[in-house]
Symmetry: C2
Subunit: 102 residues, 2 copies
Amino acid sequence: MELDLDEIIKAIANPCRRQMLAWLKDPANNFDLSHPAHPECEGVCVGKIVQKTGLSQSTVSAYMDVLQRAGLVKSERRGQWTFYKRNEETIAAFLETIGAKL
Amino acid sequence: MELDLDEIIKAIANPCRRQMLAWLKDPANNFDLSHPAHPECEGVCVGKIVQKTGLSQSTVSAYMDVLQRAGLVKSERRGQWTFYKRNEETIAAFLETIGAKL
DNA sequence: TTTATATATCGAAATGTTTCGATATAACGA
DNA sequence: TCGTTATATCGAAACATTTCGATATATAAA
């Protein structure tokens, strides 16, 4: 588990990205997941996040990439969709580390 | 206790400011505190932080102001010196909040 | 009161972040 | 294969952060 503390803090320094991460805690209640293209996937696809945030598609795509590079989310491609879900291991490790180092 | 999460995260998003905050956990071991001007003060004055960090005086002054506005440190003026120390209450509250919201 | 010291503020250059629209790529369906 | 849909990448404008040196202010010392 390689934690880049600086990268993580910068990722969550943006309120929109923080909000996205929080919404992903409870996809069923935070996104419109009727008619899922891939019901076997637990994650949320980019388009749903675009709908929810109101940000442009390109911005959401880039933001999810920032979160993923920081290790805060994992992605899974299924056909034309990319599904994102939280990476609880990294998030927990980050909270421990920041608690110790701050 | 008014916690501005966004302000706090932005304050600690800078590695120098994070380092300063960490050094203030143990002033005796992290700063040269021989010949203290005000031994009754527990904090560390700006000049000592300048020495330790190698950053310019103006930068350190501004950075400490950012940390203080975020509530992460408290200051006390004594003569021509300003002594800074950690605000453990805010720091603890922040860690709780971020743990719950992230 | 003049001078020295500590800190704060100002102005600016370089760099980074935010966010978009346009376009490219990838995968599906007819 | 061709058009459609989902996502990724590019280029750019606006804004924010980083960091400095110069200068202002506040306090103490001579």
